[in-house]
Symmetry: C2
């Protein structure tokens, strides 16, 4: 985490929350969690730090339509499964399919840097 100029209590706690969960939380969820330990933190600070972390490549930001973005403390290339009913997001234990990029390179209109793959369906709780 050398990317930051200063390591504040807020920053430390936000990272701690993100790194210690695998539930791909929303900014608001993170805010509530951090607030348990640092009640004075503001939502703006959470957003600012999340943005920095995304820019630094330390975390992933997952955007879906209609609703809040989600954040993933694991910035490694990996895939997600999203429940179309409850919106929960979980990791899929499946290696990165590099051949997809090669496959698409011919059928595409630009230089491919990578891909984003997400599976959609119903989670155990919702089915």
């Amino acid at each position: 985490m050398g990317g930051f100029q200063r390591m504040t209590e807020q920053r430390r706690l936000i990272l701690e929350v993100l790194r210690s969960t695998n539930c791909h939380p929303t900014a608001d969820w993170i805010y509530e969690r951090v607030r348990e330990k640092l009640p004075s933190i503001s939502l703006g600070t959470v957003y600012r730090n999340l943005r920095s972390l995304v820019d630094m490549g330390e975390i992933l930001q997952l955007s879906y339509g209609s609703g809040q973005d989600r954040y993933d403390g694991n910035a490694e290339e990996h895939y997600h499964f999203r429940c179309s009913k409850c919106g929960s997001v979980t990791d899929v234990d499946m290696p990165y399919q590099t051949q997809l990029d090669k496959r698409a390179a011919d059928a595409c209109c630009g230089t491919i840097k990578g891909h984003r793959l997400e599976f959609v369906g119903l989670c155990y709780d919702c089915q």
Copy 2:
């Protein structure tokens, strides 16, 4: 297009615009186009009709972070290439990879109904 209760001029024009382009436009872009032929149409009407079309499965809604959603007049399963610089979205001429769903089924925590795959890189104009 039998899903609608009434076929209005607005609805007809929105569909016409969407079906006659492959540029995956934003709601606002569609609004401007339709307005050339029907200046009195409102943006709310465009959004309402787009939503109906998505619900009816006639078009696709593409959501990315920070910014407007895009709409795709082609509702068939297919993949997209998105330029990380200018945000343009184009189709990728590559068959649907059904084996990905099978592959993920074992590594997943629910019932998979399908997947969404998008390639990211730089388009010809931006590279």
